[in-house]
């Protein structure tokens, strides 16, 4: 299994190479120059030239790319044009926020969607199924930004129940270990902070989760229905197992594989697609950082973030593989324990 994971991780190399190459070409060929955007309006041409030289923007494209690759091998992503800071550190300071948001959103969506999906599948063709369907579609058809705006309007500006955005207010002492606030608070034994952290998380998580409920409940419903048609389910009925036992022991475990697949894919999509929610809620995550760094053509930062996304994406896939491995003895056998 370790080998299988190693193999999977090794598979990331060509992908990373392609990603960086495409990215580099895109950013370098696109109009709009980082140097133009770094200096103030009234800067002279000489000033712009100086900046270009400083960041090596005057060197040939290939040379720039190769030095980037070389640095990447040393795990050095360079320095951000815009922030002047080490890209790796900048990203490290933002990644946990995005991961916390995406993971909780996925968790929330799963907790709602999977039971709904199961319910719809078990009551296939009834009004319950229809209601779940409509609820799911409502989630799918509401633009994320719109939902976010309305939620803030309602819960913050009017009802004053929840904060409108941001992660933690200033002055809250939370020693950062993982960067995931809920986890950090628990590690530090600051259970008093959990409510505060949760209050900050609730709206963005709800917004992000709502759109996923539809997809996940559909997939769950489909997976359960597929499994329910398998012969071994009939066998279990023939054995005289109770309905609950069949659902718990046979239906759900066998539906786990397709559901896990979609959850993994969704988490990947979430991590790279949470930009809008991060913008709406001023969430200091990777998405906003990417959005801003693109708009100022901060190439090292953009590249660094995309490399991070790609790596996270592959990691998620590895985790999914591990889950398959745990669930499914057939996969265990084919990959060698």
């Amino acid at each position: 299994m370790v080998r299988a994971i190693a193999w999977r991780v090794a598979g990331v190399v060509p992908v990373l190479f392609l990603v960086t190459l495409v990215l580099f070409l895109l950013l370098r060929l696109a109009p709009g120059d980082a140097a133009d955007l770094l200096v103030p309006d009234d800067a002279s041409e000489a000033e712009i030239l100086r900046i270009r030289e400083r960041w090596g923007l005057d060197r040939p494209l290939l040379e720039q790319y190769f030095s980037f690759l070389l640095n990447l091998l040393k795990l050095d992503l360079g320095r951000s044009y815009r922030y002047g800071a080490d890209v790796f550190e900048l990203i490290a300071s933002r990644v946990p926020a995005t991961i916390e948001l995406a993971t909780l959103a996925l968790l929330a969506a799963s907790l709602i969607a999977i039971p709904l999906g199961i319910l719809a599948a078990l009551r296939k063709g009834t009004a319950v199924d229809g209601a779940v369907s409509v609820f799911a579609i409502a989630g799918v058809s509401t633009p994320t930004f719109w939902l976010g705006i309305l939620l803030v309007l309602l819960f913050s500006a009017e009802l004053h129940l929840l904060p409108s955005g941001g992660r933690l207010p200033y002055g809250v002492q939370l020693p950062e270990r993982t960067g995931l606030h809920l986890v950090d608070a628990m590690l530090a034994g600051r259970f008093d902070l959990l409510g505060l952290i949760a209050s900050q998380l609730i709206l963005p998580v709800m917004t992000l989760a709502f759109s996923m409920v539809g997809i996940i409940s559909r997939i769950t419903r489909g997976a359960i229905i597929d499994v329910a048609q398998e012969e071994f389910i009939t066998t279990s009925v023939a054995k005289g197992l109770t309905r609950g036992a069949i659902i718990r022991h046979h239906l759900l475990p066998n539906a786990t594989v397709p559901i896990t697949t979609i959850l993994g894919l969704e988490l990947g999509v979430l991590i790279s697609g949470s930009i809008i929610v991060e913008v709406v809620f001023s969430w200091p995550g990777l998405g906003t950082l990417l959005y801003q760094s693109i708009s100022v053509r901060d190439i090292p930062l953009v590249t660094g973030i995309v490399v991070t996304y790609t790596t996270l994406f592959i990691l998620i896939n590895v985790v999914i593989d591990v889950i398959y491995f745990i669930i499914d003895p057939r996969i265990r056998a084919s990959q060698g324990a």
Binding site: A157, S164, V279
Partner: protein
């Protein structure tokens, strides 16, 4: 990158309340905390690494700068400098305040620190501030607290150029720690101490107890703790203000102002701005070489209507570069480019387009200025009404700016920020050999511009400016539209002034 000083638990609790919007709790020693929204990117902790008014303002509050322009009193006032005078056309003598203590208990600012600061502006590889000191030749220390600034040419506007921008940092600390000093020893002499700097997210400052204003006025009511919280989305700024998460919401766009109206816990503060919005022509690109067409554009645009109906009245029509909020404003110009579609049509016919045309490409920045895209849409429509065949482009800002800066945009709507003293910006924008954005060349303009630099008498200088402004109005190298009003939302317990630059001086702010 983080300056996490330990904080009394009490503050954490106070903020916790603000954050969760629970009813205010009474605590033995309430800390007056003011959270202010920020939109400009706070990207680097290097005080010379960014060039934008809010960033200068931040460092002026913490490290301290030579002085600032007090928009209420309409005069420059010192911060670290207490006195300045021109001793000859190219030399200004400055005296630093004595008795200031560095936040870490170190000595007050000296001439050596000023010299060091100039050097950093010029040579720090991360510095992007060298433009505003372009006129400075050198700084000569006279004694510990006195130094002379020698300019390359006569520069009446030196003080205005340096004030609000020239950040003084400690030479000692930099000598000891180099660039690390900005991260770990971000201490200066200003009225606030920097407590936390999270790039692009949040800056926290605490009141410097040793600070006294140069005029001795009381700072007792000013906030103890000030947090600049980055919030780019206008909706969010409003929501946060209404929810009590922030006390000051800056840059409220006109369409959202109504959400603050008639709220007992919120007040609206309106300030005339100095960011001049204009329709710029590239005067060397067809068809804009023809002044008749430029004028036709100017007459076609109904500025008062746009201000009233689209901008909610939160803007002031601007004729020329020097409007009521600028330095040297001497009243309305003799001739202005008022809305007159008939005249516009006549000019078009005269220029050879009696039946509509020419086909023009019109670019606008998007999301950069107040309602920029919407304004451009209205302008395009108005131009069409007189006969222009307009194609409106809304490129992403980086591309827009790259094209504008390189002189590739023929016709565009944008703003020129913080024109208070119009000297430098007008040279750069409209002077012969200036930036290629406008490509305007008029010997008369150039001549007048260099004349005002040499004019020491403020009154006469402003008269020259009146002429310059008229040239710009008549020749329409760009058509000036308006300055937006800066609308700030304040919680009811906050009392403060926002300058026309959009900034504020925290020691003057009052909080209950």
């Amino acid at each position: 990158m983080q300056l996490r000083a330990s904080l009394p638990v009490i503050a954490a609790l106070a903020l916790l309340n603000a954050g969760s919007a629970a009813p205010a709790q009474t605590k033995p020693a309430p800390l007056k905390t003011m959270t202010i929204t920020a939109t400009e990117p706070m990207t680097t902790d290097n005080p010379y690494g960014e060039s934008a008014a809010p960033v200068y303002s931040l460092w002026c509050h913490t490290y301290g700068c030579l002085g600032r322009y007090d928009h209420t009193k309409k005069m420059p006032v010192g911060i670290l400098a207490e006195k300045w005078e021109a001793i000859d056309p190219t030399t200004w003598r400055f005296t630093l305040r004595k008795g200031l203590k560095r936040h870490d208990g170190g000595p007050g600012p000296t001439s050596a620190d000023v010299v060091h600061s100039l050097k950093r502006i010029r040579t720090d590889p991360e510095s992007v501030q060298s433009s505003f000191i372009a006129m400075v030749d050198r700084i000569v220390p006279v004694d510990d607290h006195t130094f002379d600034i020698v300019t390359k040419a006569p520069a009446v506007n030196l003080v205005m150029a340096l004030f609000d921008r020239f950040i003084v940092t400690s030479a000692d600390l930099y000598a000891k720690h180099g660039r690390e000093a900005d991260k770990k020893f971000a201490v200066g002499w200003g009225p606030y101490k920097l407590e936390e700097y999270l790039a692009d997210r949040r800056v926290a400052m605490r009141k410097n107890p040793d600070w006294t204003e140069s005029d001795g006025s009381s700072t007792a009511d000013s906030p103890d703790l000030v947090i600049l919280q980055q919030m780019r989305e206008p909706e969010q700024r409003i929501n946060a203000l209404l929810n009590g998460e922030v006390q000051v919401a800056r840059l409220v766009p006109p369409q959202l102002v109504r959400r603050l109206e008639n709220r007992p816990d919120v007040k609206i503060l309106k300030t005339g701005g100095i960011e001049v919005m204009f329709l710029a022509f590239n005067n060397k690109m067809e068809p804009w070489t023809d002044v008749r067409l430029r004028r036709a554009v100017a007459y076609a645009v109904n500025r008062p209507l746009i201000i009233e109906r689209l901008l909610g009245g939160y803007a002031q029509v601007q004729e020329g570069l020097v409007g009521p909020n600028q330095f040297c404003y001497t009243g309305p110009p003799e001739r202005a480019n008022a809305y007159d579609p008939a005249k516009s049509k006549a000019l078009l016919a005269e220029a050879g387009y009696p039946n509509g045309g020419p086909e023009i490409d019109f670019y606008t920045a998007v999301g950069r200025y107040v309602s920029d895209r919407q304004v451009a849409e209205v302008v395009a429509q108005m131009l069409r009404q007189v006969g222009f065949k307009v194609k409106l482009h809304t490129p992403e800002y980086a591309n827009f700016w790259a094209d504008v800066r390189r002189g590739r945009s023929p016709f565009y709507y944008m703003g020129r920020g913080s024109i208070f003293d119009p000297s430098d910006s007008s040279g750069q924008l409209f002077g012969t050999g200036g930036s290629p954005r406008v490509q305007y060349s008029n010997p008369k303009f150039d001549e007048l511009l260099s004349a005002q630099y040499k004019e020491q008498d403020p009154e006469k200088r402003c008269q020259i400016w009146r002429q310059i402004n008229q040239v710009l109005i008549d020749d329409v190298p760009s058509h000036f539209m308006w300055t937006h009003n800066l609308v700030t939302g304040l919680r009811a317990n906050v009392d403060m002034q926002v300058d026309s630059s959009g900034e504020f001086w925290l020691p003057d702010a009052k909080m209950k």
